[in-house]
Subunit: 149 residues, 2 copies
DNA sequence: TATTGTTATACTCTATAACTATA
DNA sequence: TATAGTTATAGAGTATAACAATA
């Protein structure tokens, strides 16, 4: 005797399943994408969260990246080795070091984003009408800034 | 002078950005979900890809999990420690060891899936009409089996 | 001899604890 | 004394290479 799984009736869960299935493939591509730029996934994630305009302190990065300060040191070292970021002095407090994207870092970052946000073929196969319907509905629940990281 | 990013015009890319933003939060929850079952993310991933019905050889798992055979040994050791999977002899070839989910493994696996496929609150906030529209469109491009892993 | 899986070992990434320099 | 960041060190997870058993 086999225990059958309880069927999903909740429409939100149904949509969630469909979305997860759609995204799963891309998620697995991330490490390869990072590697294609000579970075490990952690450093790539860090690169994407660095703001080209606003240098941040090491400690605030530890908060943003949800990792230990010593790991921030290590990750920023990796980015510096690739010439993608640089440590700078803080004007008011000589204990603080800020991290800023270099010109090259900003360029690579936007290249990576372009690759990440390239829609997969199956999505591209939808009609313009369907795509616009999707966008309209999704915009109701996705804050504008989160859709343009 | 700052170089402005090229605006995204392609409607498929726009939708893709929205979808990615929506899924990002959940993706970050995965390690915590794994930890709540006493597993590391790798072992959890492995558990989810083990078929309750079909035992698989170690080498085929290395292919499926995209990792080295020695790592399969390590991961299956972890699952066995928790009583979630077990090695079995292959009837025809004594070199081969197959890996099968235990009864407990199948149970935990479906619990994990239930947690993973629970829609987040913002999705739940959509109207039934919107959810049905989403499901209808997404089903055009998501193969039925991929939406029910 | 070739293949399957394990063991021995090394490397990568992350964390904790001790340390340096500023405040 | 407290805080920011680094360095020293340890641990988890993954890979490569050598090995034992079987084909």
């Amino acid at each position: 005797m086999t225990i059958e799984p309880v069927p999903v009736h909740d429409p939100a869960d149904t949509v969630w399943r469909l979305l997860t299935a759609l995204l799963m493939v891309r998620k697995e591509e991330f490490p390869a994408l990072a590697a294609s730029f000579g970075l490990n996934p952690g450093a790539m994630h860090a690169l994407l969260q660095l703001d080209p305009e606003e240098p941040q302190s090491m400690s605030s990065l530890a908060g943003a990246w949800k990792c230990d300060a010593s790991n921030v040191t290590w990750l920023v070292d990796r980015l510096e080795e690739h010439g993608l970021a640089e440590r700078r002095a803080h004007p008011g407090d000589r204990r603080i070091r800020t991290v800023a994207l270099t010109r090259k870092g900003a360029k690579i970052r936007s290249q990576v984003e372009a690759r990440m946000y390239e829609a997969p073929d199956n999505l591209r196969a939808l009609s313009l009408r369907d795509l616009e319907t999707l966008a309209k509905i999704l915009r109701k629940i996705v804050p504008e800034d989160r859709s343009r990281p």
